[in-house]
């Protein structure tokens, strides 16, 4: 879809105002435009673009010193109502250069700026909380893993570490509760530092990085095809969403057009993944309040979706299904018929359970009015996915960016107004219903034909972008290939990166005992945000 001309004109005016008369906006692909690289292209232009309705997507830094340049910081700004993606960029001479933070004006940049600074050795100034995010204290200060001259396999000695610093909240009766990194349940590690007054949370400081595995670095130098398997393991519950975003990014580099049947099958898998997770989350929410009926039935139902995933892909998490150019396995007619028979049955089963669970007084008493996130916080922090839609903010890649096949089948985002735990639960319930409906429509309109297209050689150092509404929200993946046709840089922004601070906002002034419930209602990925 081309970007509408009036919107391009408005964009051009803003760019000239921010960067001077020489700066221009040029279309760089369907629905994409780019500005720069220019001095101030990040620190001056991005706040201006956000002021006219842009949303900060991903920050992508690259080390181009080997190409006779320095570091380049690119920001992807999304204009959801126009369905446009604008790439702006600012060059830096090299590690040690100063990066002027925009977090004070664009809070959504908060974590990604810190990540860029620590990974590439930029000095972050004017940031309210400029410490390292993923590299813990035992990593020497001079180590910046994403610089290209740093070897991915190098295992550094553990440096003598000082205890981590947390923002301090002081006052009479205020005390701290440290939680983690190992949590009580069977979940990923992270550290939560609560500052509480009595039973109320005044402030929550979230310290992550425990799941950091150098995933982005591992992509570098891999053949394009092997990147899919790594992308599948960015966040296990979003295996297919991440694989799809990665494949889209590489496919846009190689200018492949994906066969219609593969597009439909990918959507089918994406909805299946959404269902397994949304249904599982509803169960986990019920489990957190000791509501055994919901916990048991939803976790039983989750198994149904996982087993159907295994039927179509050979793996309960849809591993191995997505591949560059399409999908690895076709949906056989017998499988399609089995899915068609199964869908109405599982829908009735699911709705019966959900109707009982979400109408129960004991559930409402715990879910309603707890962990409320305001629409303003959603916009400021760049919250995405069901967490945004539960606060009444209509953000959904499937609808906003008119992607196939949702454009043809008709899709509108599910919204709930109140922003509390109940809203986030209800958004999941209604989205699961919508996904079941969508699967029926996808099966009914499934085109025939090939399921995989051959790939051409990727253009070197161009940026391919993958943009997917995963079950947890918007996934943005950028891929660049080198002159040898291997991966040169891959950057993935999992929705969790944006949403963690939404959780910190939502729990303020709530009871400490409601924290697990609030946390589960966001259900964010640690691995996806730590990479």
């Amino acid at each position: 879809m081309p970007i509408p001309q009036p919107f391009l004109d408005e964009l051009q005016a803003v760019v000239i105002r921010a960067l001077g008369a020489g700066a221009t906006v040029s279309p760089s692909g369907p629905g994409r435009a780019r500005v720069g690289p220019a001095a101030g292209g990040y620190s001056v232009l991005v706040p201006e673009l956000v002021a006219i309705g842009g949303r900060l997507g991903a920050l992508v830094a690259t080390d181009r010193r080997g190409l006779g340049e320095g570091l380049l910081l690119e920001a992807l700004i999304l204009f959801d109502t126009a369905g446009a993606l604008v790439e702006v960029s600012e060059p830096f001479p090299g590690p040690g250069a100063t990066l002027r933070s925009i977090t004070a004006r664009v809070p959504a940049a908060h974590w990604q700026e810190r990540e860029v600074a620590e990974m590439f050795g930029l000095e972050l100034v004017l940031h309210p909380d400029a410490g390292r995010r993923l590299l813990h204290e035992h990593t020497p200060p001079g180590d910046h893993p994403l610089l290209r001259d740093r070897d991915a396999a190098q295992r550094l000695e553990f440096a003598a570490a000082s205890p981590p610093a947390f923002r301090q909240v002081r006052g009479e009766g205020v005390h701290e509760i440290p939680v983690g990194p190992i949590h009580a349940g069977i979940i990923e590690p992270g550290h939560f530092r609560f500052f509480v007054l009595g039973e109320r949370i005044l402030h929550l400081d979230i310290r992550l990085g425990y799941q950091h595995k150098g995933t982005e670095k591992l992509f570098e130098g891999k053949p394009l095809g092997l990147g899919v398997h790594l992308a599948e393991r960015i966040s296990g519950d979003t295996t297919f969403g991440h694989a799809l975003a990665y494949c889209q990014a590489v496919e846009s580099l190689c200018k492949v057009s994906i066969p219609a049947r593969a597009v439909w099958l990918r959507a089918l898998a994406l909805e299946l993944e959404r269902l397994a997770n949304h249904v599982g989350d509803l169960g986990a929410l019920c489990g957190d309040i000791g509501y055994a009926f919901g916990a048991s039935h939803f976790s039983r139902l989750r198994g149904e979706f996982l087993n159907k995933s295994e039927l179509v892909s050979g793996n309960r998490y849809l591993r191995g299904l997505c591949c560059l150019g399409g999908v690895r396995f076709d949906l056989e007619d017998a499988m399609a018929r089995e899915l068609e028979r199964w869908l109405p049955r599982v829908r009735v089963d699911f709705e019966e359970v959900a109707d009982i669970a979400l109408e129960a007084d004991s559930v409402a008493a715990r879910f309603e009015g707890v962990g409320t996130l305001s629409p303003r916080a959603v916009r400021d922090l760049g919250i995405v996915g069901p967490a945004a839609r539960a606060s009444g903010v209509a953000l959904d890649v499937r609808a906003d960016f008119k992607c196939e096949p949702y454009r043809d089948l008709g899709f509108s985002p599910v919204l709930e107004p109140s922003g509390d735990v109940m809203s986030r639960a209800r958004v999941r319930f209604r989205e699961a219903q919508a996904s079941l409906e969508m699967m029926v429509r996808l099966l009914a309109s499934m085109p025939r034909g090939a399921t995989r297209a051959p790939l051409s050689t990727p253009a070197p150092f161009a940026m391919g972008i993958g943009h997917v509404e995963g079950w947890r929200g918007e996934i943005l993946t950028c891929a660049m290939a080198g002159p040898d046709g291997q991966l040169w840089r891959v950057r993935t922004r999992d929705p969790s990166v944006q949403n963690w601070l939404g959780l910190a906002q939502a729990v303020e002034m709530n009871l400490v005992s409601d924290f697990p419930l609030c946390n589960k209602s966001f259900n964010l990925s640690y691995s996806g945000s730590d990479l």
Binding site: L134, H136, H138, T139, P145, D151, A152, A153, Q154, R155, L156, F158, P181, I182, A184, G185, I186, I187, E188, P189, Y210, Q211, H212, K213, G214, T215, K217, L218, H229, L230, R233, S235, G236, D237, T239, F293, S296, H297, S299, R300, R302, G303, L306, N307, E310, L311, V312, G314, N315, R316, Y317, R319, G320, F329, D349, V353, I356, S525, S527, D530
Partner: protein, 303 residues
């Protein structure tokens, strides 16, 4: 309230108790890869195609490949080796209960030409096959847990850099279908209550210290089970310097459970393997515990 009861009655029992017979895995399910040494020509195409780099070719005296090894511990069961092999030597079986107490027995060897026969897995507890009801594993589990752990095996799960898929499959062992608690398996919040640590992930550098602390806090017998390809051998993250490359780089490991992620019944099987293997040691511990406690001498207080 009546709606709850009615719905649950209509749903019936969903727990896999083996009474409905063995369930076949779907045709596409990918279990242990198998390599046919008669077909393999040692070209090494599979080595390039393997995302977690677990296939190795070993040249013999005249520089020709005479041995191909596949390390199941780090295998992610993607099946890319099957189409990569022009000679059709690889196939994916449906065997999924692959846990072993030693890394070496997880390395499959295929000797090319006239050599020794290929060595596969160490003898499993029951013959591997495509049919996998949970109950037979569970029956032995219940018996052993009764004998060695007073009927309840307490497990602390520690996620140390995994992608969360293994966590989800460990969680799934507690759902109504697998229902591990009926065998006496309970997941606990504190390592101080735990007989066993289940560790997932390649152990990220940032989790190494916390994992060791959790281990130190465990009482005897401190059983450690590495769940999934990352924990067992680093998996697809083995080459990243930001990970330790597997649990056994940090802690002594009793059992390795291959899989990416391992299915819930493979995890239960791995837990059983651990107990089975440590049984003589555990029996001694039980004996010591069941002898009447000697009157503790009054600890001398520091003055």
């Amino acid at each position: 309230m009546f709606a709850n009861i009615w719905k649950s009655l209509l749903t019936g029992v969903v727990t896999d108790d083996g009474s409905r017979g063995a369930t076949a895995m779907p045709e596409r399910f990918r279990g242990r890869p198998d390599l046919d040494p008669d077909r393999c020509d040692g070209c090494g195409d599979c080595v390039e195609a393997c995302p977690s780099r677990v296939i190795r070719t070993v040249p013999g005296s005249n520089d020709e490949v005479t041995l191909v090894t596949v390390d199941l511990a780090g295998c992610i069961f993607c099946g890319e080796c099957v189409p990569a092999c022009g000679a059709g030597a690889f196939r994916m079986t449906q065997e999924l209960e692959l846990a072993s107490s030693s890394r070496d027995t997880l390395v499959m060897e295929a000797h090319l030409g006239e050599g020794e026969p290929p060595k596969t897995q160490a003898a499993p507890l029951r013959p591997p096959g495509p049919t996998l009801p949970v109950a037979p594993i569970g029956d032995v589990l219940r018996e052993r847990i009764g004998e060695l752990f007073g009927g309840s095996l307490h497990i602390r799960e520690v996620s140390a850099g995994d992608c969360n898929a293994c966590d989800l499959e460990v969680q799934a062992t507690t759902n109504p279908i697998f229902d591990a608690s009926r065998f006496g398996i309970h997941f606990v919040a504190s390592p101080r209550h735990a007989d066993m640590l289940l560790v997932t992930g390649p152990v990220s550098r940032n989790m190494a210290a916390a994992l060791v602390e959790a281990y130190n806090a465990c009482p005897e017998p401190k059983l450690v089970v590495a769940v999934g390809a990352c924990a067992a051998a680093g998996g697809i993250f083995a080459e990243s310097g930001q990970t330790m490359g597997g649990v056994d780089r940090v802690l002594p490991v009793n059992t390795y459970i291959p899989g990416c992620p391992p299915r819930p019944q493979a995890i239960l099987h791995g837990i059983l393997m651990t107990i089975e293997r440590e049984r003589p040691h555990l029996q001694k511990l039980v004996k010591r515990r069941s002898t009447p406690l000697q009157k503790a001498s009054t600890p001398s207080r520091p003055t």
